[in-house]
Symmetry: C2
Subunit: 164 residues, 2 copies
């Protein structure tokens, strides 16, 4: 069982070097670390430096799709604001696949914290991020976060936990 | 408004040629066409030829994740069996990004049909597929399908429609 938050870092990785797939994976993992740190710090500006202007995201909450970095900035700002203090954020089962200029990752992501209403939050969801290297810099081009739902009740299953 | 099912095809594309990103995109689009045709025909074997053995999928229904081609085969078989006759399957807003050996796509996917209980099905969801070229052949390495859910009720939003 990992502690919250994880402090694994690849801070020295140059996100703009120009080598192949193995380097790509290392750079993408560093980007993912930066995204996680920005979430823990609730730093919207730091987070958004890693998104393509034309990013398209499928989020936990409606609408069906969020088009463009501004839409994601608004959504993330609202999410950060819903917490008291910092966010405990963890990624499990992270898998990263990278080519020279296209990459993807998937993981189970969890948050712990307290919302503005005083309720404890402890929730996991499935996350996919897809990346492009544009003008020598890796950015998130597509994100997909979700919970499965129960067929009979139509309820999203918000209390599922990773098995390890 | 497109008719159901779409019959766009790239049937002549060689899925194993060895060129770069533009060729990759053409090959991946042909693979996506093949996946769609297999769904419409409810042909599990044809569908599964396009999945990596170690594919990991996040599906509409629990569990949180499906590990490996056998788990996906079981899930898809159950889904196909739940329909009377063929499945009307459509993809909207398809975007494909491909490098030499890694690619991803996202789309809004819809099905129309009649289930075994006689109920009409007309449902859209968000779909992300991630691909790898392994031993010269493109395969699905990761898939993510979902509906957003309403925060207040916790209900999955199963009746959302694409806006165009």
């Amino acid at each position: 069982m990992r502690t919250w938050p994880i402090q694994e870092r690849n801070a020295e990785v140059d996100l703009t070097s120009t080598n192949g797939g193995a380097t790509g994976e290392r750079q993408v993992r560093a980007l993912i670390d930066n995204l996680a740190d920005a979430i823990r710090a609730k730093d919207v500006d730091a987070l958004m430096t890693h998104y393509a202007p034309d990013v398209l995201a499928f989020d936990l909450l409606p609408p069906l799709q969020y088009r463009g970095a501004d839409a994601i900035r608004n959504r993330v700002s609202a999410w950060f604001s819903s917490f008291q203090g910092s966010i405990g954020f963890e990624m499990r089962n992270l898998s990263v696949v990278s080519g020279d200029d296209v990459a993807f990752c998937h993981s189970l992501n969890g948050v712990r914290g307290t919302n503005k209403g005083g309720a404890k939050i402890d929730m996991w969801w499935r996350a996919t991020n897809c990346f492009r290297k544009i003008d020598g810099k890796w950015v998130v081009a597509h994100g997909h976060s979700s919970e499965p739902f129960e067929m009979e009740s139509g309820k999203a299953l918000l209390d599922l936990k990773p098995q390890s």
